[in-house]
Amino acid sequence: MKELKPEDIKIIVATDCGSTTTKAILIEKHGDEYRLIVRGEAPTTVEAPFEDVTMGVLNAIAEVEELSGRKLLDEKGQIIKPAQNGVGTDIYISTSSAGGGLQMMVAGVVRSMTAESAERAALGAGAIVMDVIAANDKRLPHQQIERIRHLRPDMILLSGGVDGGTLTHVVEIAELISAADPRPRLGTGYKLPIIYAGNKDARETIKKTLGDKTSLDIVDNIRPVLERENLHPAREKIHDLFMEHVMAQAPGYRKLMSLTDAPIMPTPGAVGLIIKTIADLEKMEVIGVDIGGATTDIFSVFQGVFNRTVSANLGMSYSISNVFAESGLPNVMRWVPFKMDERDLRNRVKNKMIRPTTIPQMMEELIFEQAIAKEALRLAFIQHKSFATTLKGVQQQRTIAEAFEQSASGQTIVNMMTCNMLIGSGGVLSHAPRRNQAALMLIDAFLPEGITRLAVDSIFMMPQLGVLSTVHPQAAKEVFDKDCLIHLGTCIAPVGVEKEGKEILKYKFILPDGKTEAGVLKYGEMKMIPLAVGETAQAHLEPERGMDLGHGKNKNIETTINGGVAGIILDGRGRSNFLPADENVRVKKLKEWMLALDIYPKWALER
């Protein structure tokens, strides 16, 4: 791979090799700014009969070529590099989740300490964590050995013990792995890559135990002391091994690696990277979600800490039955503004599971599907919050004032009040017939507090931008801001409890045309004020007694509000149990909110 200077890069082709589709984008520098030109896609060709991922990549690029009119491939079907005389591209980069992405197993001593840190490192690197082995996972050694043998991960991350800490536990786990003698998922002739990121005093023993049987790499301890995590070296090594071992074994990936100008990244890792990059650049706290057919990924950056979780059983097609089972019919139906036959609903859910590409044909199907999406997102977010926590096992310093409020460690760092932006992606959000529907799905599932911007990634190019950010962060940010996100608007939600109908917020917006939009928001009410994409409004917000918009209870806020497709959404539903228990009242309120936000056509709600 040749060294590239960012200023030399003017044309960029990026692909994301998914399990079913390979997506290619073309980015060009026009004047001083980088913009997305076109997007093309083609079926992924990693499986038989083709068994060469580059075929799909070149097909997708060929589509981009056709759509843009820019010649990118030569007569031999190779990517023309660098760009010269209006043909070719300066760089080509790619991500991949084809063939199941990166599947890892992690191990640590205590489940909630070093094992959790290892899980965090693996998830952050874009892996799917198949299982977590820990000394206290309540499984007997033979069960753990059987599990390791059975899963056949792409690699194992072994951690445990602080530096100078326990040796016996770490060595025991290494012995378990050694006894299991696991084989890698791909390339049966190769040794399984194992990354050891534990107690440095145990390195020699670990080498003796695993050195011969596996491809062992040793990096700095993931938890050198319990008070601090050091995930970066382990994540770097995961990326390296992903390239060297996993990608190298997948059909056509060696060829693809020779084409790319930056290391191929696992798709979720790239998405996480772009979200982290944007959060760092803009100094924002962000939550990103990608709801797919089988899994739901949630990414967050709070207090500068990046976290990613994969809810493997929550999705909109393959896993839809599980969402239904986990959430329960009443929880799904609480979002539906009319009664539906339970048997009919169950049939629809199963239909969606066995025919994952089905899309809703009728309005009631759409409403029902979006209700399930809200529950899937809500459940995935609960999992995320319980994972994105402060470190456990850390000594606390207290004062006498904390006598009755002894907060435990391991509290979630996800704070909806400080969250600046919620980004959604995945079919149900990105392809919702009305953008307002995506906005309401995000609001109902995540319950943003205070002032939060909402956006969706319409064509899911975050993976390509993630890998681009490793080469050219500025280009990645510009395209992310201008072409990647479709801004839905801003949600303003005062937090507190009041009586239904009581005034909770006085607002005044000075709109771009100079007009003023002022009024009062009542408890249990939702309002929408149009403010187009790219426009901003000066807001003066006065929360009433006991209500909080982020600066404390009853504290006024003067700020600039960003517009979007849906505009400004005023959510006066408080934040606790806002759905009325009585069914008739609930249906009435749901219709009221949906009409206020123009979620569904009026006729659909008047049935």
Binding site: V110, N136, G165, R398, T399, S407, S409
Partner: protein
């Protein structure tokens, strides 16, 4: 002639005799001819004192008409008792003027007594006619304490109700006790760091409820230590506590499926002397630098010494005591503290035993009712409505 004048002795003697004679003659008619005998008390009624344990008869009478009015010469009432209406009446007590009731606590059960009331003036007296015969006997119920009975019944029913509910598998919500939730974290820290867990069960013997509660918590801690394959040490200052701790830890290791990891040497005796024990344990902390320390039970002055030493070696410390004077030290120096009765509630919380959970819930209901009564009583009392406060008062 004035007496102060100096006069011949004979003249003075004559005048003095004349003066005394005049004085006696002047008061004689009042002594001889006036009515000094007070009117007798009326309507004597005696009855068995209600709601008592027997051996008590209450006597009531109507005041003498010379008590507070008429001659107003009654100074005292005497209560006379006899076993027959015409028999010899003996005095059993007295009651000041103006009163109309006397409780005779010298009666014997099952013997019929007759009572008379004697009204006394300074010089005379008069007796009332005897009242009807009365027999004292014990009663089953003390109506005055009906309030206590109702409160006890409500609490008991509450506890029984919650025990029943818990026994039927109903999920009982018990507020998370951060200190107990943190046991896994503390033991986990010790495991990761390869250091010991120390459990100090207070400096009292097994006759202290706090020590008993501490030993219950030790069982939970020991089970976790066994599961995590960490190392536990329990220094004791009483031999009996040491034995109880050994049995508890042994059982916990057995329950965790790791009896082989248990050793009697983990639980040992140091000294019964308060500061000898404190010095020894502090020394252990400093030398061993444990990763987790549990200070549970009955503590006195040594609490701060131990907690500060533990803090200085960087251990996660979980304390618990019902000694109010020691709590501030634990709160300030430890990571988590079981405050007061949380120490006792912890056993229900840990065991999830329906009986313990049910009684915990029932007691909470009682406390809630008491709080409501106190708040309501304070408001009503402030408004001058005294019924509720009176109802709770022992009559």
């Amino acid at each position: 002639m004035p007496f102060c004048q100096k006069l011949p002795g004979r003249y003075i003697q004559t005048n003095f005799v004349w003066f005394i004679s005049f004085f006696i003659l002047s008061i004689f008619p009042a002594l001889v001819f006036s009515r000094d005998t007070p009117q007798p008390p009326t309507q004597v009624q005696a009855f068995d004192t209600p709601s008592d344990a027997g051996k008590s008869i209450t006597v009531q009478w109507g005041k003498s008409s010379d008590d507070g009015e008429g001659l107003n010469n009654v100074v005292l009432y005497e209560v006379l008792r006899s076993t027959s209406p015409e028999g010899e009446y003996t005095k059993v007590g007295d009651s000041p003027r103006g009163t109309t009731e006397y409780v005779d606590n010298s009666a014997k059960d099952k013997i019929p007594y007759y009572y008379k009331i004697r009204a006394l003036s300074k010089t005379s007296f008069s007796d009332s006619p005897p009242g009807a015969a009365v027999v004292s006997s014990p009663q089953w119920f003390k109506k005055e304490r009906l309030n206590a009975l109702i409160v006890v019944l409500v609490l008991s029913l509450g506890i029984i109700y919650f025990i029943q509910k818990a026994s039927k598998g109903k999920e009982m919500f018990v507020r998370k006790i951060a200190a107990i939730e943190a046991v896994d974290e503390a033991v986990g820290r010790a495991t990761e760091m390869g250091k010991k867990v120390y459990f100090i069960p207070g400096i009292y013997d097994m006759d202290s409820m706090q020590t008993v509660a501490a030993v219950t918590i030790l069982g939970h801690v020991a089970k976790r230590v066994a599961e995590y394959e960490a190392k536990l040490e329990v220094p004791n200052c009483y031999a009996l506590v040491m034995v109880a701790c050994r049995e508890t830890v042994k059982q916990a290791y057995l329950n965790a499926g790791r009896p082989d990891s248990y050793s009697d040497d983990m639980i040992y005796y140091i000294t019964q002397d308060q500061f000898g024990y404190t010095a020894a344990v502090s020394g252990l902390f400093v030398r061993e630098k444990p990763a987790a320390i549990f200070l549970q039970g009955h503590f006195f002055a040594e609490s701060l010494v131990l907690a500060e030493t533990g803090n200085s070696v960087g251990a996660i410390q979980i304390a618990g005591t019902a000694q109010p004077t020691q709590l501030p030290f634990f709160v300030a120096a430890c990571d988590y503290t079981l405050i007061g009765e949380e120490l006792f509630a912890a056993s229900a919380y840990l065991s999830k035993n329906p009986k313990l959970l049910g009684s915990l819930k029932g007691q909470d209901l009682g406390k809630l009712l008491m709080m409501i009564a106190i708040i309501l009583g304070s408001i009503l009392e402030s408004l001058g409505i005294l019924h509720l406060a009176k109802w709770f008062t022992y009559q």
